[in-house]
Assembly symmetry: C2
Homo-oligomer: 364 residues x 2
């Protein structure tokens, strides 16, 4: 129904905002064009997983992550299901363990179960991180444990490095393969003060994404040893992910990787500063209270409708978009996710301060 | 090992050729750039299968094929496995039937079997088309019959339209779903003198490709009724094919679809003319003898090594690339595939005639 004088929705307002606190900007077609401008027209396409365009980038990422080999995939969904399947086949066990809010459990329409008949054991409760004792107390025999760094759905929380080391040692002792969901791996390196290779060394297989903090169009990489990656290419073909040409994703992934992988410290520091501003506001708290990456959740102690109105008014009075996607948490609380990228640095300090003064007033 | 004076291989020669008899030219990055140049930078990406960019193109193709709905997929491998799985689930039968040289049987690393435990019954022998009596004589209960038009691996042969009608009627009577592998559907319309919708009307589900005759980067569409396509979207998510952004493939698919779908008659006629030239040459014959689409196979009655040398010499003396990929058929015969596209029309008549005079001499 056409309602000419309807109030714009929060997502509409967000898409129109002059300034946005999170993200790397619009996902428009200019994002791809900018990446392609750097590349000669005559460079040949990759062909079914072979050719310079794909092989050089795979080698670069394998090296960056300190692993033998890497395979470019169109998506992390495909890459991770395949990783778990390979480990299950290798160990002859059709069980894996992961967090209750793991991407495979809540965002993939049960692909792992429906395509592979792999049974996931859910470790920890959904509000906490998986701990060493969760792993030690596992009753079932599993092929693989999947750890997500940071745990996105609870605000991007992180285990301490020392605990990861202990979990890794325990899994190696028990013959359990350890897989890293590193969709946001680059984003947590400044907190750990480790190289990507130092983190990946704890894991048998690693998936990284090129469109989260990196801000590419789409695309993922799966890394591990030669046997593992060779097997993953066969499964990529089975899935229909071994496209004749993946270069639109490869070229853009590499371009934005080069552009942003060195900016993660900057995003992380900005996230901590921004979280402080939220935490000083009335009825607002971030999760985690002090971010450990470029991301965090903002928890509002007010019903979704009220907060939505407040956020739209802040935008109208000040031109700033805080989020376009507010989610109900309970009847009387709601939350949104903030991921800091290039956009944050473009907001003048006084505009940001005014926005928080406005928000604070409206949340009282 | 670096061998400075090594003879260039057939595929190297082909890639350097000034003229090529088949194809739409190089698959270089300029192909994507040309498609993107037409599009405004500020157009927003599709997001997980939604948004104007994907929805408008899906509607256009659904209409062109005369079906209720269409879903864009990154690949035909993914699209077709999903189509067969949906029909198997709907009928509660885990068997399908297709040709022994079906793409699912020979190019997908057994994805259908390994991911879905669907058992294919191979109909007809590998040198012939599936006939009505092959279908009538089926002993097993199957959920779905897959027909490929044209049958690529045997030179792009085609059943007569009247036989398709009879197969379709038989399948409907028996409650067997009929799926069309229409990777090259647009290419066969001039032979049938039918619209795409008239062909698709015989089938319950149809897959078409945008990088065969159309010459896009990659991408496919699955069409059918609303229930079928809705279910296919869920499976697309399970496969990891529901990318946050598919627009690089969508925009290029639509661009090259618009450019070339109207040229199929021209390619078909050129294929017939070119096949005549091959058939007049010594020890060369095309399959089919008279092409029924833009494609055919060239069968050489000589060992692969001899023919390879002959083709390289023709290129050296005349600058023309006939094929970059010669395949052994028996110890004393070999073959290649020719698909006519935009390149054929660029060859001056006298260059082509000289090439065939040369080839004829070398094949004696």
């Amino acid at each position: 129904m056409y309602t000419p004088n309807a109030e714009p929705s929060l997502s509409e307002v967000f898409s129109l905002a002059k300034y946005r606190v999170g993200g790397n900007g619009s996902r428009n077609i200019g994002v791809l064009k900018a990446a392609l401008e750097q590349v000669d027209d005559h460079i040949e396409s990759d062909i079914y997983g072979t050719g310079g365009v794909i092989e050089q980038f795979q080698e670069k990422i394998a090296k960056f992550l300190g692993k033998e080999n890497a395979v470019f995939f169109p998506s992390g969904t495909m890459a991770q299901q395949i990783a778990l399947r390979i480990w299950c086949d290798e160990l002859g066990v059709n069980k894996v363990a992961y967090h209750p809010l793991c991407h495979l459990e809540i965002h993939e329409q049960d692909g792992l179960k429906r395509l592979h008949h792999i049974e996931p054991i859910l470790l920890s409760d959904k509000d906490h991180l998986i701990t060493l004792s969760d792993v030690q107390n596992l009753q079932e025999n599993i092929a693989c444990l999947l750890i997500e760094l940071p745990q996105r759905e609870i605000g991007g929380q992180l285990s301490e490095y020392s605990e990861l080391v202990e979990i890794s040692r325990y899994c190696r002792d028990k013959g359990i393969k350890l897989h890293l969901d590193g969709a946001r791996l680059f984003e947590v390196l400044p907190y750990y003060q480790k190289t990507a290779a130092e983190i990946c060394e704890l894991f048998d297989s690693v998936y990284v994404s090129f469109y989260k903090g990196i801000g590419g169009i789409a695309g993922a990489m799966l890394v591990g040893n030669e046997t593992f990656t060779a097997e993953s290419k066969i499964w990529k073909r089975r899935y229909g992910g071994d496209l004749i040409s993946l270069y639109p994703y490869i070229i853009s992934s590499e371009y934005y990787f080069n552009l942003r992988v060195g900016r993660m410290e900057e995003y992380y520091k900005a996230a901590k500063r921004l979280a402080e501003k939220f935490n000083r506001s009335c009825n607002i708290e971030t999760r985690p209270r002090v971010p450990v990456s470029n991301m965090f959740h903002v928890m509002f102690s007010a019903p979704k409708e009220k907060v939505e109105k407040a956020l739209i008014q802040v935008y109208k009075e000040n031109g700033i978009g805080i989020t376009g996607n507010l989610r109900e948490y309970t009847d009387t609380t709601c939350y949104c996710e903030i991921s800091i990228g290039d956009q944050y640095g473009m907001i003048p300090d006084e505009v940001l301060d005014t926005a928080f003064t406005l928000l604070d007033g409206k949340m009282k």
